[in-house]
Symmetry: C2
Subunit: 373 residues, 2 copies
């Protein structure tokens, strides 16, 4: 077997959706799959067993954060990230590109690499494609990502074109520097919101040949229609037999949109982040349980939901906990939002298998969009 | 059956320790028992099922906090505190006396009651013994406590004597105001560190006749030897057949000391509070896992411990989580400290049953005291 093997089990007759199975050294991931984000080697507020119980089969962790704290060498000394965080299933680490270009204070970007200051203590660091591979090999996730150059939205064409060129060069250097017997490497397609740049990047990156392909630089503030347009241009240029990963996307409607465009993997902090702000995802849209309106609402967060939080506790209690700054409050909203998202993905997979994904998506969005915002 | 029934199963031949069973409307509590503290209707960082799994049979919650937020009427509307927080086992609420005299800004204490300002928003409140009974009846715990007057340490004799008199008056009024078919009421003995006041308070409070007796005003800064001396004076004056509750005590050595003096119930924020500060309890004393010394220590928090945290994770990982402000960090230290405390209590009960509690305590303290601080 390759480091990861990908098989396609079914395709949707009306959309680009596909049902698959990603085999990794740490188990199978049923796709399309959503990866909860464990930025610092833990999915905020959750224990590993709770994530498994919710059906999570793969997590994402952040190279940038782990490099800064506790350090990749420490994680390696612990036996790698799986053992360090006691997660027995599949793991993917990003390259840190997105964080370097968004969280850190950038000092200098050259073809050689990136000089930046840590968001933690202001210390100065240099990361190159080679160094990023070294770090990810020490972390030892099942899938590593090449270093790419991420841009905000909107961005001038010339800047985007230069980032595409640099991303290709860095992808090649990442590939040359990566040598790990049990870790696959994914390339990343950039190109901002420019169709010709997306095409150019897809052609250049696929020409290098990776075990899978990330689509980066989307969900950075552009309209959702533009994101969909870029996927419609990019996805057909990616090899059919390799997994496709839409990076940083995780709202319910965008997940279903991405699945329809043929995406197999997603990650996003949205479900866990909004949970900590007191917002829960429901089939009717977002519900801000922190609001005073729910002070005496003794119904569950979402009626009919089967998650632990909804089976046990009321909106009034969760609101009280959030109001009082109690940890159990964010544990419960986090559990609910991850259950909601992972259950939505499982339902989408069943719909693809049954050949009615298009109708499933339409039904979901009819209720969801109607009451969002 | 009474609202609570207490049976004594065994007594220690060498100390005052006794093994018992407290029957409540929400199940049996094996005594001596430690009650984890759920100040705001939740034991910080824990879910109810986790507490049950650790062996907790009774929790304490704080009347003062719940009265201020979310309000006793809201808890009553939810069906009472058991249902609100989804805790199916026994619950005890304190009277708020300690919190009013320590957390709130006191405006006025008269025989009638206490005027104070909320620590949350500075709003002004008046609580009398009658009002405190009304609140606790709305909360609906299995055991309520009378309103008492708490004092700091040290305190002049005259002040302590006045507080004893007021505590007796308030106990009588609490008793008269309390009428709940499924809630027992405990009296509280005060008297600071003055032997004659302790005796007087014990005589006056027991003369009123309660289902059980709290011993308050200890563990407020006085030397441990003085606490033990007060217990040695007070406990013999309490009825043999009623449970005795040492309020606010929960360090490992004081638990064993209290058990030896014939105490049946304890509560304390110590295990959960120090956990959140990155300190774990071990048989060799406290271990500050947050310290840099543990950065690359891949051993469990306590070697040989059977708790979830110790079976799964390393000191290095827990330290990383605490350092990074991750919720799982305090979840793990809290689980360990409650497991440690509840397991110590279970071991003490087995030792009493087997007739060798004195030896058990000596063995434990030999290792524990040796390395503490």
């Amino acid at each position: 077997m390759e480091k990861v093997d990908f098989e396609i089990l079914a395709t949707c007759p009306k959309t680009g959706a596909r049902l698959g199975r990603l085999h990794t050294p740490h188990g199978v991931v049923d796709t399309p799959a959503f990866m909860p984000v464990g930025t610092q080697g833990t999915v905020k507020a959750m224990a590993p067993e709770e994530l498994e119980a919710l059906g999570a089969q793969m997590l994402l962790s952040n190279t940038y954060h782990l490099y800064l704290r506790p350090g990749a060498d420490l994680v390696a000394a612990a036996g790698g990230l799986h053992r360090f965080m006691h997660w027995p299933r599949a793991l993917l680490t990003d390259s840190g590109g997105y964080q370097i270009f968004s969280l850190a204070r950038l000092s200098q970007v050259t073809d050689e690499g990136v000089v930046f200051r840590s968001h933690l203590d202001g210390s100065s660091h240099f990361l190159s494609p080679e160094k990023v591979m070294e770090i990810q090999m020490l972390l030892g996730a099942d899938i590593a990502m090449v270093l790419d150059q991420c841009l905000p939205y909107p961005v001038p064409y010339e800047e985007a074109a230069a980032a595409v060129a640099r991303t290709t060069t860095w992808a090649k250097r990442s590939q040359e520097a990566h040598h790990a017997p049990r870790q696959a490497l994914f390339g990343i397609v950039q190109g901002a919101t420019y169709p010709d740049l997306r095409r150019r990047s897809a052609e250049e990156i696929t020409a290098l040949g990776f075990a899978g392909y990330g689509i980066g630089g989307l969900s950075v503030g552009e309209p959702k229609t533009l994101m969909e347009e870029m996927l419609a241009i990019t996805v057909p240029l990616l090899p059919q037999d390799r997994p496709r990963y839409l990076m940083g996307v995780g709202s319910p409607d965008c997940l279903l949109m991405g699945i329809g465009q043929g995406i197999d993997l997603f990650d996003c902090v949205l479900p866990t982040r909004v949970a900590r702000n007191g917002t829960v995802l429901t089939r009717r849209g977002k519900l801000v349980v922190r609001n005073a309106a729910y002070a005496r609402d003794f119904r569950p967060l979402e009626e009919g939901c089967g998650c632990y939080a909804c089976r046990r506790f009321s909106r009034a209690y969760v609101r009280h906990l959030l109001n009082a700054g109690e940890i159990l409050g964010v544990r419960l909203t986090t559990i609910h939002n991850l259950y909601f998202t992972l259950t939505l993905m499982a339902a989408a997979r069943r719909a693809i298998a049954a050949g009615h994904f298009a109708a499933f998506r339409k039904d979901f969005l009819a209720t969801y969009a109607a009451e969002e915002d």
